[in-house]
């Protein structure tokens, strides 16, 4: 943009007068665009023939924005159609931008109204956690919330089906009973998990690593291990049964299988055999509720091999003439051998090192911890808990305190009465004090005041259409924005004092909240959906092509991105670091996958990546690179589309009707693929989008479909260079990233991020009257080093976040809105 300034200054003189300019622009479109974009051809699903009069600039604003965007990016008109003079193009886009600005200045900013927001799955889980002090994820099995604009917290999309309501009623009861009487007692059951066979490559042939001395001694990152992500329902003991498979060379020392939970070794075993098929080892241990990574590995797998393997600590065992599948031949074996000849399996010549795991069986829960947590009980029983010795007078304070926290505001005594009535009912039925409290609490959690965030209408001050939201409502807006959960005591205290809106208090609260571990919710729920890396949990890369991929690596990929973004959020980094950074977070598993030396152990740590090929930023992270690929191969189209949609705020439109989506051929034909796609781009119908998408995707071809670095695809050397429609070009992924951080791409990124975060914060789609707020927040950020906290503060202090449109004005606005459609 900057380098165009001198020319702009010249043409600006000609385009300041609105009427003259507008006629030129209209004529420009009719001359250069309508040959393809008319009611019969409708390329890109666009008919521009209708753009004949000056009033269309306002009425068809979105269409005009698209026109300006395409012309500015140099995408339109596409070759071979002759291009208009550069100066004319610039004058046209400049005039249009000025016109949009003018319109935006005319738009009266409005606060808008957010419809009552139902707690979505994540918010419900977190709120129950913070309200009751139990982390049981009661909403885990609820049907997925409907998303809109890519987020699942948009109130208008959060429907409530009767089936879902029933889920809420059940979850409320389960949560209350868990906190008052301890976790639900589960019957032990068994689960069988088959290990993916990932070592086909080494099966049947002794393909050992090149360096037998420098390898992962824990075995966690070798192909001989098996990993399972498993969700444990309750704190309890569980039994584990590991079934082994594969072989060790004859004369090897015993193997040492081991079992790890979350990268920490639980138990080591010793098995002395060459044929490991069907060997079983078992253990039993306590596990906390929640998701854990279970790993079966072989410790020091390349130690103790026969001396001929030239590995570390070679076996001292003398060569044996003949051993059976289970070790040394017994008298009985020899007898059998005599009888059946050589049909019995003998492993005298066994040379394979393909020991692996067949499966894992999990049994349990046993000895389940089934008592209520004293901390949680203290939260509920505000006048102290003495089982069997409660006085009836305590019921009311207990219910009142709970309802206030659950409703995130002070409750009236009429409201409390209604809930105390349930307590009384249960007591009359002969139930205990605790059962009575359980019923009252259950009723509180079913109430719409808990399940929805309902904001009251307040009269707007004279001369304004909006009123500030209440102090408690503001506290909830903040906490559900930054924590996806209820406000904590400190926020509620500030609300009750009426000081929360004071700039200094608000800023201090926001900064405190961002530092709090609960701000991780922004990583999971905002970034996870914005950048779609949540999908890493469900993708299934083809194991034959990518045998190195397993749940251990999957988890490591997810953790890297989570830690990276959490670092930006909680350490107040710049949002530009997401595009490019000189650091990332890895553990041994991921470091080995990335080829970063010198990292051992399962813990993640920050590493400098400035001198690596991969570089940093999310475009160098395996999670993002995997979710934007197919299971068998990369797709430059998919990755390009991903960048346009999520980073450059320019989602490509659907392909024009009748044209099948451009698809590449099989992997290993990259050179042809490129040519094929270049051919394809010659078609004007395809080129406008693909000339933008494809080069971006090709620029990331150094990363394979699970994000590993490569320099060739199949037999072909990779060509990762490309040029963008505006003429800028790059040779490496690093250069591509540098381009994204620069000029109008950077502006588009900041604006897109601002829009998405504002939408997420408000729980509604953005309207035209929100544009001034977005523009102001985005513009200010560049002078604030793009700090994440400043972006959040910009949003928190914005009109739509602070205020709510009053009822009557909103009705007028909505009827006007309908008329203008």
């Amino acid at each position: 943009m900057n380098r165009l300034l001198p020319i702009l200054a010249v043409v600006a003189v000609n385009s300041t007068t609105l009427s003259a300019g507008s006629q030129d622009v209209l004529a420009f479109v009719q001359k250069n665009c309508v040959a393809c974009h008319n009611s019969s051809v409708k390329s890109g699903d666009l008919d521009l023939k209708t753009l004949q009069s000056a009033k269309t600039f306002d009425e068809n604003r979105e269409l005009w924005e698209k026109v300006a965007d395409k012309i500015k990016a140099g995408q339109m008109p596409p070759p071979p159609i002759p291009r208009p003079e550069a100066a004319t193009t610039i004058a046209v886009t400049h005039w249009l931008e000025a016109e949009f600005d003018r319109q935006d200045r005319m738009v009266k900013p409005e606060a808008g109204r957010v419809t009552a927001r139902r707690l979505n799955k994540a918010e419900y889980n977190n709120t129950i956690r913070d309200l009751l002090g139990i982390d049981i994820h009661p909403a885990e099995r609820f049907p997925a919330d409907t998303a809109a604009f890519g987020f699942d917290n948009i109130s208008d999309a959060l429907n409530l089906s009767p089936a879902l309501l029933e889920n809420y009623v059940d979850a409320a009861e389960r949560s209350v009973r868990t906190v008052l009487f301890g976790p639900e007692k589960l019957k032990p059951s068994a689960v069988h998990l088959s290990a993916p066979i990932r070592i086909n490559e080494v099966r049947g042939q002794s393909q050992l690593p090149k360096d037998l001395f420098n390898y992962d001694y824990t075995g966690l990152s070798t192909r001989h291990s098996a990993h399972f992500l498993y969700h444990f329902p309750v704190n309890a003991e569980y039994s584990f049964r590991l079934v082994l498979n594969g072989h060790r060379p004859n004369q090897s020392e015993p193997v040492h299988p081991a079992f790890f939970i979350d990268g920490k070794m639980v138990k080591e075993f010793e098995v002395d055999a060459t044929d490991l098929e069907g060997q079983v080892i078992e253990l039993r241990t306590r596990v906390t509720a929640g998701e854990h990574l279970l790993s079966e590995t072989y410790l020091k797998n390349y130690h103790g091999l026969p001396p001929s393997y030239k590995g570390p600590e070679p076996s001292k065992r003398p060569p044996e003439a003949l051993i059976s599948p289970r070790g040394k031949l017994t008298e009985k074996d020899i007898e059998t051998l005599r009888k059946y000849g050589t049909k019995i399996k003998t492993d005298a010549i066994e040379t394979r090192v393909d020991n692996r795991f067949e499966s894992l069986d999990i049994g349990g829960p046993f000895n389940q911890a089934a008592t209520a947590s004293p901390d949680s009980l203290r939260k509920i029983y505000v006048c102290g808990h003495a089982p069997g010795k409660h006085t009836g007078a305590c019921a009311r304070p207990i219910v009142a305190s709970f309802a206030g926290r659950a409703f995130r505001r002070p409750v009236t005594s009429t409201e409390v009465d209604q809930f105390v009535r349930f307590f009384t009912l249960a007591r009359k039925q002969g139930d205990s004090f605790e059962e009575g409290i359980a019923m009252a609490l259950h009723a509180v959690l079913v109430s719409p005041d808990f399940l929805y965030r309902i904001e009251r209408d307040r009269p707007a001050p004279a001369g304004s259409s909006s009123a500030p939201v209440g102090q408690y409502e503001l506290a909830s807006r903040l906490s559900y924005f930054l924590w996806s959960s209820m406000p904590d005591t400190e926020l509620l205290r500030a609300a009750s004092r009426g000081t929360l809106r004071q700039p200094a208090v608000l800023e201090a609260q926001v900064k405190r909240m961002l530092r709090d571990p609960k701000a991780f919710a922004l990583v999971e729920n905002f970034a996870g959906q914005w950048l779609q890396f949540r999908n890493i949990d469900v993708v299934r890369p083809d194991l034959e092509r990518f045998p190195v991929f397993d749940d251990g690596l999957r988890l490591a990929m997810r953790r890297e991105t989570e830690l990276f973004i959490e670092n930006v959020i909680r350490q107040n980094g710049s949002v530009l670091e997401l595009l490019d950074a000189n650091y990332t977070f890895v553990n041994e598993r991921l470091a080995r996958f990335y080829g970063i030396p010198g990292i051992t152990g399962p813990e993640f740590r920050r590493v400098d990546v400035s001198n690596t090929n991969r570089g940093g930023g999310i475009l160098a992270q395996a999670s993002i690179l995997t979710v934007s690929s197919y299971s068998t191969r990369t797709s430059p189209v998919l990755r390009g589309k991903w960048i346009l949609e999520n980073l450059l705020n320019a989602p490509p439109p659907p392909p024009p009707p009748g044209v099948p989506p451009l698809e590449e051929n099989k992997t290993g034909q990259s050179a042809t693929l490129r040519q094929q796609m270049e051919q394809h781009r010659k078609s004007p119908a395809c080129s406008s989008c693909h000339s933008r998408m494809d080069p971006l995707g090709f620029g990331l071809e150094n990363f394979n479909a699970i994000g590993a670095w490569r320099t060739e695809d199949g037999k072909n050397a990779l060509d990762v260079s490309g040029s963008l429609p505006d003429g800028r070009s790059f040779q490496t992924p690093a250069q591509l990233k540098a381009l994204l951080k620069d000029g109008h791409d950077c502006d588009a990124y900041i604006r897109g991020l601002t829009e998405k975060l504002l939408m997420y914060a408000l729980g509604r789609g953005l309207e035209r009257y929100d544009r001034p707020a977005v523009t102001a927040i985005a513009a200010k950020l560049s002078s604030q080093d793009y700090k994440f906290s400043q972006l959040v503060l910009g949003i928190v202090n914005s009109l739509p976040f602070q205020m709510r449109q009053s009822h009557q004005t909103s009705q007028i606005a909505s009827t006007m809105g309908e008329r203008s459609k």
Partner: protein, 443 residues
Amino acid sequence: MFLTGKHLDRRTLLKGVGAAIALPWLDAMRPAMAAPAKLANQARRVAVVYVPNGIVMKDWKPAEVGGEFAFTRILKPLEPFRDDIVVLSGLANNAANKARGGGHAKASGSFLSGTPPKFTAGADVHAGVTFDQLAAKHWGAETRVPSLQLGCEDSRMVGNCDTGSSCAYTNSLSWKDPDTPLPVEVNPRSVFERLFGTVDPSLPAGVRARRAMYRKSILDQTAENTQRLTAGLGPADRRKMDEYLTGIREVEVRIASAEKDPVTPPAEKPSGIPFDYAEYVKLMFNLQAIAFQSDLTRVSTIMLGREGSVRTYPEIGVPDPHHPLTHHRGHPDFIEKVTKINCFHAELFAWFLERLKSTPDGDGSLLDHSAILYGGALSDGNAHSNVDLPLVLAGHAGGIRGGRHVASASNTPVSNLFVHLLNSVGLETERFADSTGQLDLRT
């Protein structure tokens, strides 16, 4: 023990034999809630089994029309049910052609409603009420659960589902009304609890009854409070509260009906989603069969995958994701793999038919009294084609005559079939959405 004329408590029987899922359903156990004679010629159950991303049509569509057709490679698994199925061809989803948006979103977003879905990625999704929901409404309070929406694909995928179209169009098949897509249940455990409730059956009967009473009283009071709360709200908020109240009322009805006619679950509660896809699908089919056989519901839709599904099928030698394979551009390797997936789905459907056929129901089998539509809203996935849809109708509900391939004139709206299905459930109508008549399959 006398069995004459009285219905036998299922629990009494189950005590003796253990809780086997495929327990033969003795007619004596049928609760006296439905009179079979009255229903003999009506479709007592309607289900749709949906497969995504189109079908390899050359290996699907039989060459011959009428009774003497040969089973093609993909339809082969259904051959044992020759007399129970009608292969349909020529039907088109014309509504999808009229819509804007991604090819997959348009297809599943309009399939059962015959209405073009609005092109949006936002909250203002809009399509049409689907025919299955009209049937569910028709039966209304006669069953405990008006209808089931099941899915066999994780709905955790986020982002744009199909080039700018809302995920609602690919995540849901059934729409309660033009603005309300019904979410699918993907966890077998949740399906089970929806059918049989969550109350721990091991609790003493007195405690269970008291808990149910408490729950009813909580819901009553909550409904009252909500009405009071609603009075002070603006229109949009009021709509939210209305939706909430409707939910409360439906749950109340369900509890009341469960009290009146308790049904003991005929199987163990599933623990979660099985890892193996075939096992997963069979479990969901089985729950559907259980719901039908206990008359807990009469309407269900199940998606074996969503449109645009990228599920891989390494267990049948297809490690590649489904959707990109279907854009094969004539590549024989790709086509072969898609065909394998098509066959696999058909085999699983055959399992479901077997399950229904081997379950006695009144004067016949469950399959005799059901109308099960199998297929998808796309024919050729490569071209996102909405014409000549791959469809099979199984069962004899309402007197459907099986054993043939019925070819309709090309571009006949698939809504004509839905008119027939609505009539066979007793909802007399001449029209549904963009129908031009009725595809009568009785004669």
